[in-house]
Amino acid sequence: MDCPDELTLDLWLADALPSDEAAAVAAHVRTCATCAAAEGAAQALDVELHAALALDAEERAFVSGLELASTWRTSPSMAGPSWGWIALAAVVAGFVAWLVAAPTFGSAVAVAVQVGLVTLLLNAALELVFSLGQTLLDLIRNPALGLSQPLLALLALALLFWPRQLIPQRSTHA
């Protein structure tokens, strides 16, 4: 067998090869100094990475102080409110309240709705009147600002569409 590639050697070291292939690689590594050296280096790396990633003393102390054995029941996924259910309950409660209250306070509710609608319409009308008044006041105070721009626009339009034949042409005859 030729030297296995890096991936095959890695999978063999991790016991992730099918048994027949693993046996072939093992037999080769026993007789190949290059592959044996690669195996040694990979195992050294394994040890080094394990050591580097292991919890240090401070982290071990921290996890001991967590007491997860007594706090796992209070997971946020269990303790947290379920907003969907809360919203559904609020809607149902509102509907029930309306059903109960409608016969008793029906006429009062109707009057309130009418008053509300009339208030809204009145408010809109007053707003319109006030905004018109405000515009007129602005024009009176500073007519140049309010009138010059529309006049200029009209002039520009007039020049654009003015019949060309009405504009006096320069004579080209001698």
Binding site: D10, L49, H50, L55, E59
Partner: protein, 198 residues
């Protein structure tokens, strides 16, 4: 006294009791696996408070889904897969840089001195090298970092990593090879010796 290891029989017994609703039995399982679960999550999210919260969530989820646990397989790998999944969900939902929690070198050195480590200078340099490697791991792209943490911290088999990350065993091997290659280049740039790295 903290439980650090449970025999297969006692694990199976505790799992059966937990399935029957005995929360104290599950608490014993939590105590036995809390370091592995917390450590795996911490190495992925790099924030102790978040790691504690995610570990809690992972244990709660495990308790909820204990009925689906296949007793013929190791509980540790199953718990770590749930924890890693929760950590990845957390990372996806946050997507923000977290403060690294790589401190504690002094405490480690003190502890090793008390327990009779031979040479303080050697301890310091070993600690510094470990910190450099951890920093380099934290700079890996997420799929490579996940594979490295699951392999070299959680000690999961390639098959378990493949199942968790939804890829083939060969792809896990390729991801780890690339991760080690990237670590070597990164550490060389930092001026750290890389004898063991490919």
């Amino acid at each position: 006294m903290a439980i650090t290891e449970l025999s297969l029989d006692s694990t199976q017994h505790l799992v059966q009791r937990s399935r029957a609703g005995d929360e104290s039995a599950f608490a014993a399982l939590v105590e036995a696996h809390q370091s592995a679960v917390f450590g795996t999550v911490l190495r992925l999210v790099y924030d102790r408070e978040v790691a504690a919260e995610v570990s809690n969530r992972a244990f709660f989820k495990a308790y909820e889904h204990l009925a689906s646990f296949d007793e013929s397989r190791p509980l540790r790998a199953w718990l770590l897969r749930i924890a890693a999944n929760e950590a990845l969900n957390e990372l996806r939902s946050r997507r923000r840089d977290s403060a690294h929690t790589l401190g504690g070198a002094e405490a480690e050195i003190e502890l090793e001195q008390i327990s009779g480590a031979p040479d303080p200078g050697e301890v310091v340099s070993r600690r510094e090298r470990s910190d450099e490697i951890r920093d380099a791991v934290s700079r890996l792209p997420e799929p490579q970092r996940v594979a490295v943490v699951l392999r070299y911290f959680a000690d999961l088999a390639y098959g378990d990593i493949a199942e968790l990350t939804q890829q083939s065993v060969n792809n896990v091997g390729v991801t780890l090879l690339r991760a080690r290659e990237r670590l070597r280049r990164d550490l060389e740039r930092q001026g750290v010796a890389t004898d063991g790295l490919p």
